[in-house]
């Protein structure tokens, strides 16, 4: 079924709504995708020097957070379909189809692939978007253009909620993630260039050293030093 979902087969998205245990299967797909994504995003945990014993717990919390995201995502799609086209499909049926649309994200850990990770990320985003459109089209019973609109509005609603009434939830989620990790998760991947594992020289020593080197190799005096001047000191 997962293979068919990955192939965006409309039959399987329709079938899961009526299949016995369909919702359970969809939730299992979401859990699997959530765990995969948690592993794929685990760089943040490592950057913040999480301990091995806490690593699994942090992954578990991230996976469960994914379930919360799934529930909200399903609700926003259901609400958007009602608002835009007055369609009120059974919520559980929509939830089953939307859950199956998480199938491409099972490959989220491929984001870790060195150098090609970003390409995987883009590919998975596009793939997931197509799967969601398929899920909405079949799950809610809409035409393709309507499904695109509903999915877009659902996404917009989700963004608005995350920045307004969802903020407390987001804070709770972050708090739980930090508690599980046992460290404050304040370092993000964008900080990685500034990170230093050991204390460097003091800035004036570096400056003096830089000037001496610059004179040594005879570079023009107007040339400015590059890099290595801002540090986030992390003592192991």
């Amino acid at each position: 079924m997962i293979w068919q979902a990955l192939c965006l087969n409309p039959t399987v998205y329709a079938g899961i709504q009526s299949a016995p245990g369909g919702l359970g299967f969809a939730v299992a797909v979401v859990l699997l995708a959530g765990f995969s994504e948690a592993v794929g995003q685990s760089l943040v945990l490592f950057l913040n020097r999480v301990r091995p014993a806490r690593f699994g717990l942090a992954l578990l919390i991230a996976t469960l957070s994914h379930i919360a995201g799934y529930v909200i995502w399903t609700l926003t799609i259901w609400v958007a379909a009602g608002l835009l086209f007055g369609v009120h499909a059974p919520l559980l049926a929509v939830a089953s189809a939307v859950g199956l649309a998480y199938a491409p994200q099972i490959f989220s850990f491929f984001i870790l692939t060195p150098y090609f990770g970003n390409a995987f990320s883009v590919l998975l985003s596009l793939w997931s978007m197509l799967a969601v459109v398929m899920a909405v089209r079949i799950g809610v019973g809409l035409q393709t253009w309507q499904a695109v609109l509903v999915a877009s509005l659902g996404w917009l609603l989700l963004q608005v909620m995350q920045r307004t009434i969802g903020l407390p939830l987001l804070h709770i989620q972050r708090w739980m993630a930090a508690r599980a990790a046992g460290v404050t998760l304040d370092l993000r991947p964008r900080d990685v260039l500034r990170l230093r594992r050991h204390r460097a020289r003091t800035w004036y020593t570096q400056l003096e050293s830089w000037h001496r080197r610059r004179g040594f190799i005879g570079l023009p005096p107007e040339q400015t030093p590059v890099g290595g001047q801002t540090h986030v000191h992390r003592t192991p």
Binding site: C7, G40, S42, L43, L45, F46, L47, R49, V50, R51, P52, F109, F110, I111, L112, T113, P114, Y115, F116, G117, P189, V192, L193, L195, R196, R197, H198, A200, R201, Q206, S209, R212, R213, F216, I217, G218, L219, Q223, V226, G227, G228, P236
Partner: protein, 357 residues
């Protein structure tokens, strides 16, 4: 057995998935090191000196570190071409301390054959590589290639390059290097190891007072901040080195990416490309080929060693070569009659040895 066109694709698809699964697991070594999961220990292979390589001879005028290509499994090179290159280099740069006992594809210099869990696998792969069939031996190359990709990836590169800089500094310190002294350091990276060399320089130059030069020996490297951090970068480029085509894989190496580190370094005259006439990437006709290509011509390994030695000599004399892109080595560093005589002095090589690059 197969019922449809997609079913036929299942086996190749499974292989591709397995490949990318392996690739996506590769960064855990680097990330785990950063998080402190493996401690701070830096491992040493304790490779003995042969008298001129890995030896401090008198008062060192400079330090030269050679980072090997992706075929290596430990700090001990098994390539007779690399051994000969290092020997020739040490002969031509007698005041330099020439070191090569670094395994640049490990965050803590731990040999693949010394790993706690998978040592048996790498020993088996190495055995296949040496005694054949060699296909399994390419597992080593693939594994090391993943490490090169990690050193390129902007998410992991700052972590990996710091680890590599620590390994390099540790190696230097073991050979009486004084970080407070103005002694120059040359980090030579062969093939994929050029990325490791350039990446490590970014951090190495924050810890030492002397100038740090990166030398790419037919290197495959991305547009790395190390290109701007190094005091100068020398890129030895064989005119028959077809592997250089891989540079197009890195958008920062394209001319249209004007603000990339590579293009900025070129504009600031921080890079010297040294064409190596007639040299290929590896093996016969490669930079380190020990056989003469034509009668009366010195082997490539001697020419390469002499070129690097000349670059070192100029830097040690306080006049490093700073000529820009595409300058022929023959005009940058003219070979005097005495130097040619030295080139002719190449020793006999035992060709029966097996090359492992």
């Amino acid at each position: 057995m197969f019922t449809g066109p997609l079913d036929i694709l299942i086996i190749p698809l499974a292989l591709v998935l397995a490949f990318f699964l392996w690739a996506s697991l590769a960064p855990f070594e680097t990330m785990g090191w950063w998080a402190g999961w493996f401690g701070d220990k830096i491992y040493h292979d304790n490779v003995p000196s042969d008298g001129i390589v890995r030896a401090v001879r008198g008062h060192p005028a400079c330090y030269v570190l050679f980072l090997s290509g992706i075929g290596r499994v430990s700090g001990h090179t098994l390539s007779f071409r690399e051994q000969e290159f290092l020997r020739q280099l040490a002969l031509r740069a007698p005041t330099a301390v020439v070191l090569d006992d670094i395994f640049p594809y490990s965050v803590n210099n731990l040999a693949l054959t010394g790993q706690p869990i998978f040592a048996w696998l790498w020993r088996w792969a190495l055995d296949r590589k040496r005694n054949g069939p060699p296909l399994a031996g390419y597992l080593i190359n693939i594994r090391n290639l993943f490490q090169v990709a990690i050193a390129i990836d902007h998410r992991y590169a700052p972590l990996y390059n710091q680890a590599m800089a620590e390994v390099v500094l540790d190696s230097l310190l073991r050979y009486q290097y004084d970080p407070e002294s103005p002694t120059p350091i040359f980090v030579i990276g062969y093939s994929g190891a050029a990325q490791m060399a350039i990446g490590a320089v970014t951090y190495l130059r924050e810890w030492v007072k002397g100038p740090v030069y990166a030398v790419s020996l037919g290197g495959i490297f991305s547009s790395d901040p190390g290109l701007l951090a190094a005091d100068h970068v020398y890129h030895l480029w064989g005119t028959r080195d077809s592997a250089q085509v891989w540079r197009w894989l890195f958008p920062g190496r394209w001319r249209i990416c004007a603000s990339s580190e590579w293009n900025r370094a070129c504009r600031h005259k921080r890079v010297t490309v040294v064409p190596m006439p007639g040299m290929g990437h590896t093996g016969h006709g490669g930079y380190l080929d020990v056989k003469s290509r034509a009668a009366g011509q010195p082997p490539h390994v001697c020419l390469t060693a002499q070129t690097v030695a000349d670059l070192i000599r100029h830097a040690v004399a306080g006049q490093p070569v700073l000529t820009p892109l595409w300058t022929a080595p023959i005009s940058v560093i003219p070979h005097s009659t005495s130097q040619i005589a030295l080139l002719d002095d190449c020793p006999t090589i035992h060709y029966s040895e097996v090359e492992h690059n």
